[in-house]
Symmetry: C2
Subunit: 331 residues, 2 copies
């Protein structure tokens, strides 16, 4: 183990998920893009919530979910994200700390409430997300503690951070500090529509700051505006040293310098809710990477964590990932 | 169907449940009575929450869960209980309305926050509850709308209401109105320790106001201070016209005037979480009673709803109870 205090530090939009079952008709009637993340304002959040079925509140946030996964593997994880000092903010802080993730940023005492993500899960286990950023959009570079970034093997950034401008600046600050300290920077593209909104900025960042990229097929295609996964992959190899490209039930492809590794998905009995599949995959991969694992092992740790999280309702792992990985001979 | 607007109106402590997995060691270390409900103050709630595993927030409250069950059977249900106008209060109001239950009481704008129940679920699926009453303890007789009570076939009262004094007064107001309107009053004893705290008051109430009583074995024994279920049952028959006595996996015994009906439990594949079993049983029974069903049918509707709720995490039914009851030939 190196001199680092943390294996992975995640920076992202701190959210509480509000999960409810839904139907395709409901999505259509309410103009919700299936399987994607849409940003909504406070008014739309209130309106949509009033129409939703009874729901369950579970702490979420993409990078936060990933950090909980890293801790679940036995990794040392930290998280930076903004909540307000309200009830949902307390829930978020409790849950991430109780999962073993260091989280000690200051809560906002004014302004918008803690962010929430209204997630509609259709019978096919797809999740459609409607995010009211709230306090999470007030993250600024001042929230990024340089000491923590410099003491983390990997700083992991959420693509969703591109939506609030001050968070983008926080991102650059973190990436700068990480590299000066000789650490790695990882990025997840998060969502094809998010890539669409900020394509040039994402490309520039990948070229200049990103050591490890996470993307699914749709995000990769959007990034390089191609309809061919293979073409996107070939382009990406010229721009980023390491990448994990997730392909749902078809597993993932790991680009590892000049090598390409095809990783199978871990079969699950029943897919209950795909929320958090990508987040958990990243957790396994990052944990492996921080501990010096090879490309195959990183990929399979990702598959294992993704399989766990899609087999139940909610985006954070419930089983003991460390034990599962040990049983699978991956640790 | 009669002239009533509601089949059942429930009055109880409005709560949001905070559910987490736990161990027997944790219960012992923190002095928590296993399987029971303990009242805790704000300080203890904060302390205990900080020690708990990552949790899930789901609307709860015993009588509220029951009303959601009544609505799930296709019944017309209403609910009276006090929340504050804070985030958890909004969650409670959203969830019960989204389940089809009429809930239009005024929220508190001052004082304690919305009540919550910290529920620790051990690997044996038992739940140990730690209740911070918060705003729910501020329910007063003024919150009981006489028109709604008079327009409900059955007014259902939660034994937990005996803890906050103004809620006890609300209870008497409701019972009085119901009987003058020619309606029925039902009561659940809720918890053996609660019965212990208010034994004389409970006995008096049953003698004077209660038409339908719900109790489990421990509560019945506590009520009449006997170690014999049979003795408790014989005593109860002299004091209350109809009663449903639940016995976990042994099913229930329905006392129906001078008849005794033994009802089997509905087998479940795996008991995941017993939270809400009694609440759901009451939902099935009350729905059946309000619609004029016989003793056997009321009991089996209760068994069916209880079986549904213990087969998943959380205290409110997730499946379509009406469809299940139809399939079982009970409707």
């Amino acid at each position: 183990m190196s001199d680092a205090r943390f294996d992975v530090l995640g920076i992202g939009n701190a959210m509480v998920d509000v999960l409810a079952h839904s139907s395709d008709e409901f999505l259509a009637q309410n103009g919700i893009a299936k399987g994607a993340m849409s940003l909504i304002d406070a008014e739309r959040a209130t309106q949509l919530y009033a129409r939703m079925e009874p729901a369950v509140e579970i702490s979420g946030g993409s990078a936060a979910n990933t950090m909980v996964g890293v801790a679940g593997f036995g990794g040392r994880a930290a998280y930076i994200g903004k909540v307000k000092a309200d009830q949902l903010g307390e829930v978020f802080a409790h849950d991430i700390r109780a999962a073993g993730v260091a989280f000690d940023g200051e809560m906002a005492h004014e302004g918008e409430p803690t962010g929430r993500c209204l997630i509609l899960v259709t019978p096919d286990a797809q999740r459609s997300m409607n995010t009211f950023l709230g306090a999470s959009a007030t993250l600024t570079p001042a929230d990024v503690k340089g000491d923590d970034v410099a003491a983390s093997e990997i700083t992991y950034l959420e693509g969703y951070l591109f939506d609030p401008a001050p968070a983008r600046e926080a991102f650059y600050k973190a990436a700068g500090i990480a590299h000066v300290a000789g650490r790695k920077v990882a990025l997840t593209l998060s969502d094809p529509f998010c890539v669409d909104r900020y394509r040039d900025e994402f490309r520039h960042l990948i070229d200049t700051e990103v050591d490890i990229l996470f993307a699914n097929e749709a995000e990769l295609k959007s990034l390089y505006q191609t309809s061919s996964f293979d073409e996107g992959m070939q382009t990406l190899m010229r721009h980023c040293p390491v990448a994990a490209l997730t392909r749902s039930e078809h597993g993932s492809v790991v680009l590892w310098h000049d090598e390409v590794h095809v990783i199978s998905a871990k079969p699950v009995k029943k897919v209950v809710d795909t929320t958090g599949a990508g987040d958990s995959y990243a957790a396994g991969f990052l944990y492996g990477f921080a501990r010096g694992a090879d490309a195959q092992t990183c990929g399979h740790l990702g598959s294992l964590a993704a399989a766990e999280v899609i087999s139940h309702f909610g985006a954070r792992p419930e089983a003991d990932l460390k034990a599962l990985a040990g049983k699978a001979g991956l640790l």
